[in-house]
């Protein structure tokens, strides 16, 4: 009993939070500076659980920070730099106003600047931490490096971003780390695997900027400031891990190849080296010569049965990866001028291909169109006047699709003027029982090595088109298709692993396998019979869900079929 009366809002959550304005005043910074500091230090606003308590009874929406975070900010040495900068600006403005040019000069010479190195180290205590957060840095770097130098941000920032992104791309090429590419309507998504981390980044198409007005450029520039520092240090470490020279240097061999007379046409001498680096057409110099490429195999520790299985799976994966890394090895590409050069050069070089372009397009082309050893020429126009016999003229999508499919796809679908197959997103992973577009099925079949059957089918289809078969037959086929679908549905409903390919039944006599299957099915039926009532109910429910899903998928497939048929009919009409 007794004691002092407790006052409201003097303990609990009300004292754990601080409003933005109060935090600003505590740090003695202007709002833009405060915002910048928070971004650099990685301190973000917080939504309290009980707003009314924190807000001292008011329900007005406010921005809150944790008080401890702000206390932590008080120790930051950069805060004083911000104040110095403020004073510098004031003095400079004063000197300008008084037209004291010598004072202006002197002040400009002593412009205060700060480094973010210690912040990077503090926020990312280990290298892996930094690598996990590199997605944002890459996106911002690539975005800013494509900006026009029109004063939306500092030219120096743009240059730095360009340098860092080029370094990154060169690293990805050198380490063959690229895994997926997706051309979207927004930009190009890349995914690379660096030191076991999957890193995704988005690169805008060239010259596609309209500057939106509702974006705060100051905030974005601050993020970029931090991320350029981070990216630089990460690049350094990655180059070190591959024994590459860090500010990257071209291989001496490559450099001699690249020596040309007309270098001055593209860039000033001071810039031509960076330009050549950004051309991505030649390999980089190493600290230790690259001859003794280690062919280290994974250490094998044979263990129990299960582990062995896992190990095998892993080995298989590894092998697949190795083959994927070399899909373009031995191929020589030539990029026509209407094709996005940088993206294609990057992708091709990531998978071991050689690439060149016309001299007038960019610096750093290694061979000419007339080179007889070129195997693929990438063209994106309806036709080409002068064609060489011994090379494929393909559309750029082939390269990307090959990368995503992890094999060299047949070239026929991507010839000049051919209607391209859809460019599927490699980032979608279908679960069991999802609808899979037929194009993907085809690619999956190709991956499994079932080349002939597919081609046969295609040929058949073509024949069908040409021969103009009777409608009855088509009807028959449809019926057969339906039957097939039903069968599939039944199969799926029994929870068997899917046979993903949808092919009209060519009966293959596989007796032992079939017997085994039947046996399994029998066992399953028995197991179902033995179930308890409750379990049975659950089982039925699950099965029903699966069936419904299958039904939906079948519906989609049928729809697709109808769509394709309609397209076919249209084409036929057009031909007639």
């Amino acid at each position: 009993m007794g004691g002092l009366q407790k006052k409201k809002y003097e303990r609990g959550s009300a004292t754990n939070y601080i409003t933005r304005n109060r935090a600003r005043k505590k740090l003695m910074l202007s709002l833009p500076d405060f915002r910048r500091l928070c971004i650099l230090k990685g301190i973000y606003p917080h939504e309290p659980k009980h707003k009314k308590k924190v807000n001292k009874g008011s329900t007005a929406p406010r921005t809150f920070y944790l008080l401890k975070d702000i206390r932590f900010l008080l120790h930051e040495p950069i805060v004083s730099k911000f104040r110095e900068y403020k004073i510098f600006v004031r003095k400079l403005r004063r000197a300008y106003g008084k037209t004291e040019w010598s004072a202006v000069e002197r002040l400009k010479e002593n412009k205060p600047a700060y480094k973010l190195d210690h912040i990077v180290k503090e926020r990312y205590p280990t290298f892996i931490d930094a690598l996990r957060d590199i997605d944002d840095a890459l996106c911002m770097g690539f975005l800013f490096s494509t900006f026009a130098r029109t004063g939306k941000c500092h030219v120096q920032t743009i240059q730095l971003c360009r340098r860092l992104t080029v370094e990154w791309m060169n690293y990805v090429i050198a380490s063959r780390a690229l895994r997926k590419v997706f051309l979207s309507i927004k930009g190009i998504y890349y995914q690379a695997e660096v030191m076991g981390q999957l890193i995704t980044w988005l690169v805008p198409y060239q010259f596609s900027h309209d500057h939106p007005t509702d974006v705060d450029y100051r905030v974005m520039a601050t993020f970029t400031e931090l991320y350029t520092t981070l990216l630089g240090f990460v690049n350094f470490r990655l180059y070190q891990s591959l024994n590459l020279v860090y500010p990257p240097k071209l291989d001496s061999k490559a450099e001699s190849e690249l020596k040309e007379d007309d270098e001055e046409d593209y860039a000033m001498n001071s810039e031509s080296y960076t330009e050549k680096l950004s051309a991505l057409s030649s390999s980089l110099a190493r600290v230790v010569s690259s001859e003794e490429e280690e062919d280290a195999k994974l250490d094998e520790f044979p263990d129990e049965g299960e582990d062995m299985e896992k190990m095998e799976a892993r080995e298989k994966e590894q092998k697949q990866l190795e083959t994927q890394k070399k899909i373009f090895e031995g191929l020589k590409f030539f990029i026509n001028r209407e094709v996005p050069r940088e993206s294609l050069a990057f992708v091709i070089r990531c998978f071991g291909g050689q690439v060149s372009w016309d001299k007038s397009v960019c610096i750093g082309s290694t061979y000419d169109v007339t080179d007889e050893t070129i195997t693929h020429q990438i063209v994106d126009r309806p036709n080409v006047d002068k064609q060489y016999m011994n090379r494929y003229y393909i559309q750029p999508q082939w390269v990307y699709d090959c990368v995503n499919a992890k094999i060299r796809l047949p070239v026929e679908d991507y010839f000049l003027g051919v209607n391209l197959p859809p460019h599927l997103s490699p980032f979608v992973e279908e679960k069991e029982g999802d609808y899979v577009p037929p194009e993907k099925l085809k690619i999956m079949a190709l991956q499994r090595g079932e080349k002939l059957a597919q081609q046969d089918e295609e040929e058949e289809e073509e024949e069908e088109e040409e021969e103009d078969e009777n409608e009855e037959e088509e009807d028959d086929e449809e019926e057969a298709e339906e039957k097939n679908l039903k069968k599939m549905e039944e199969q799926r409903s029994q929870g068997k692993s899917l046979q993903v390919k949808v092919t009209p039944g060519k009966v293959k006599v596989e007796n032992p396998a079939r017997l085994e299957q039947e046996e399994k099915a029998e066992e399953k039926r028995l197991a179902i019979m033995m179930m308890k009532k409750k379990e049975k109910y659950l089982y039925d429910k699950i099965m029903f869900g699966k069936k419904r899903k299958v039904r939906e998928v079948n519906k989609l497939a049928a729809k697709r079929k109808a769509h394709d048929d309609a397209e076919k009919a249209k084409k036929k009409k057009a031909r007639k």
């Binding site: 606003p45 939504e47 280990t126 920032t157 470490r237 391209l420 997103s425």
Partner: protein, 464 residues
Amino acid sequence: MAARRRLKRVAASQSGFLSFKSPSDPTASVGSRRKRVNKNKKKNWNKYSDVNDVDEFLEDVRHQERTTGGLLSEKADDSLFFLDLGQPEKPQPQAETPQADEGRKRKGKASRPLRIDLILKPDSLVPPPKDILAYQQPNAKKLRRIAEKAERLAAKGVVPRKQKRLLNRRPIDRTVKKAVAEANNNPDRDYYDIWGQEPKVSADPWYLQQTGKKLVKRPAKLNEKPSVLPAVEVIAPGGSYNPDFFSHQALLQEAHQVEVQKKKQEDKLERQLAINKKDKATEETNLREQVEGLVEEENDDEELAPSKEDDEAALAAIAVTQKKSEKQIKKEKAEKFKEQQRLTSRRQTERQQQLFQLRSIKASIRQQEEKTKSKQMQRRIKQEAQKAQPRRLGKLKFQAPDLDVQLSDELAGSLRQLKPEGSILKDRFKSFQKRNLIEPRERAKFKRKLKVKYVEKRAFREIT
């Protein structure tokens, strides 16, 4: 001094130099009475001695010095006289011809010195007196002695202290500029292995801590990300530049759904803001308003009657509350006691009966537990879902950006013809907001402080 001495000497040698005391004119003094003056006073000397002749003489000497540079009597004869041989005949015409030429050219002006020069030319031949101070040095003697001493020491090989200190001073390298703080976005900046080596701590940690120079350790909680969303969300497969038909349709469907939702909300708002038809004025309501109070109401009497009845009832209620008799009180008490007993017995029997209901009770408990468990589960799921949601961080709510979609007829057939959709800059900005890294904000609106006054210009007004 020398000049004065010479003057004296000259004066003495001159004939007719009068002594100091002699009066200027002996004849005048004879005529008038000689005035007696005491000569023991300097004042009288000045007053009564005649110095005109001396002055004249001195003036003459000065004149001679001025015009000839010395006394004529001391000059040699050669310098004073010359032998007149008449005018030389021949060289004159020769000299004249070039002069005439020049004179014709320059009209004879150049040969003559300018008048102003003549005026300014010193007309005295006495040389100006020498300014001694111009070449005299103060402290000359002392300085000379110091210099002599220094020379002696230098000969011995002793370096003075001042020079020694100068020699010992560390040379300043003027060519190296003061290390200018490098800007953070310098494109040529260099990087190093930041995670490789631990930075050396040079000073005592206690000292660093006390002087506030030690970096404060970052709390580990700050390294947690404020959202579980990935940094880069890959667009749906329908967003491919050359999409599969169905995935494209799915994306369109999604975009359509969003639009429909927006439209719904707009419509709702419109509906809520619409004027109620009943509130609108019609002819009838207008008329009624105009006649209000003019027409008599008929049912006044009916309303008055029931109010009377109410009053009576209230009075009756007051009358009823009379004091209870003792008997009545006892009776009520007993009844109350009985009722309580009945209730307790009933409770007891119920409790006994519960023993036989154990199974059903257990079942109900189980049911309750299940219910709470499922509720907990749901709450947890909700919380997980909330983690991916953008939080309310400021005045404004996060507004999801429009889905980037290309309609079927906008799709390009090839990469060359592709028209990129949306802005990546905006996408990144929204992503930061979605991941709670920054609070959503609106661009500050421009507010005019002073009113703008519009004035029609006269030229314009004349036309209209």
